[in-house]
Symmetry: C2
Subunit: 291 residues, 2 copies
């Protein structure tokens, strides 16, 4: 369904077998290293930088750098149109995806159509870490999305050969796990007002990482004080039905809560998808269960 | 707070530095390899078996086996009494734990005391994968518990030197992530009846892995047909208050739902914590949202 823009005319060169104590064999294809054209914030760029910075013995650093170039060559770049579902639950899980740009929602459905959005992803996020043999979720583009796509077998092979990549995949899974556990508390124990205020502050944090997140209320030195969020505007990525499916609420409750927040002077609304923060401290206290 | 039964009188020998293409240096301590006395289903045994079976070049296999022996020596064995909280949220995350025997609940609390149990763990499960610098959960023993405990720095060091371990940690994080996403659907979209029936079938699955799980309703060849669960009894690991905090319900709703199931002939109750399955197919249909 997704439009695949393959970066190779010919089939990709075979991957070297996993590192077994030998220096990895370079196996460069015909396509230049700049196949990402420097535009995509994709996995390999970050790892490449890390490999260059890490104090690895020089032979090993060169080997890992070459394998990362290799990874560039066998990475497909996929463009997905807004609203398109590019992974369906119970399909065979053949790929890992990394979001290069745009926003993606992952969701699961119950047989009668009830739906729960399990994650909202943005640039740099992985898709598919939790899949077993088959995908256990649907993935849909919330707007135009660019993805980097790599076969699971190839990724496993690379992860064995590139310890930096193996560690990055593990860190990513652990980070997602922590976030998922935050959301268990939200869905299991927070009120509708607490859920909606958490969501609004999460959107702001995703838009500007210097804004404190209610999920991690410990303030780092680089974070703005919460009162400084007054006057900031956030653009919501999705309609009320999706917000309801993300927060485990009905659409009516979501709309009612937005209206209540507006009437209480906590936020102002500009159309359906723009929200300005007026009383950010009160929203943060609500979101963290302090009110 | 937990009673530590250190397996070493002297400080553990230093870990070798991460594998950097050299064969790992063996660095055996004074304590015998059987420090687990074969009793604990702990991490190293499994990996050891895997290392022996894997077709690694012999020098590498020997290296990894020696490092695994090393890991045995620096693993502490901890006994925790029933009801004891052995990890507190916001403590510095210094250790990874693996449950050797017994059951553990992980939970988070909101400032006013509302509580959400985020995971129920048993033998072989990891604790601490999702922690950042500090633990983001409390861990409490549901009965007498044995744990294997290893410093996070030591574990990271071993994971770099032992690819099998690195992969196992990643698989574990991905498996927990998948389970956590299942629970998002439960908390966000399932009714009380659906949640309680899911919980009962989960308990049965944890007790006997040949019983199908509502979280993974695809039947594997080794699973019993659901009708064959009739007459099986499950012992619940925790009181109604904990079940409520796990399922995002009130205690009253949990008790009412148990009573309703009993009156409808779906289950019978033997005291507070024993449940016999009478109509397992109906419970499975409820749990998977087919009713």
């Amino acid at each position: 369904m997704a439009t695949v823009a393959p970066s190779l005319e010919e089939p990709p060169p075979p991957l070297p077998s996993p590192d077994q104590g030998q220096p990895p064999t370079p196996c460069l294809g015909k396509v230049g290293f700049d196949c990402c054209a420097g535009r995509l914030r994709c996995l390999w760029h970050g790892l490449q930088r890390q490999a260059n910075l890490t104090e690895l013995p020089s032979q090993q650093a060169v080997g890992q750098t070459r394998l990362l170039q290799e990874a560039h060559h066998i990475t497909e770049h996929v463009q997905v149109a807004a609203g398109q579902c590019f992974i369906e639950a119970s399909e065979k899980a053949r790929h890992y995806h990394v979001v290069a740009s745009g926003r993606v929602k992952l969701y699961r459905s119950l047989p009668d159509g009830r739906r729960q959005i399990t994650a909202l992803l943005g640039a740099g996020d992985f898709i598919g870490l939790s899949a077993g043999e088959n995908y256990n979720f649907n993935a849909e583009a919330l707007g135009p999305v660019s993805l980097c796509r790599l076969g699971r077998g190839d990724m496993e092979c690379l992860a064995q050969a590139i310890p930096l990549l193996a560690r990055r995949l593990r860190q990513e899974a652990c980070r997602e796990l922590a976030h998922s556990q935050d959301r268990l508390v939200l869905l299991g124990r927070k009120t509708a007002r607490e859920r909606v205020s958490t969501f609004l502050l999460e959107c702001l944090h995703a838009q500007d990482r210097t804004c404190p997140s209610p999920m991690h209320p410990v303030r780092e030195w680089s974070m703005r004080p919460v009162d400084n969020l007054a006057g900031l505007m956030v653009t919501l990525w999705m309609p009320r039905t999706d917000i309801a499916d993300y927060l485990g609420l009905t659409v009516e409750t979501v709309s009612r809560t937005f209206s209540a927040f507006r009437q209480e002077g906590l936020i102002s609304l500009q159309g359906a998808c723009r929200v300005t923060f007026l009383q950010p401290r009160q929203l943060m206290e609500l979101a963290t269960g302090h009110q």
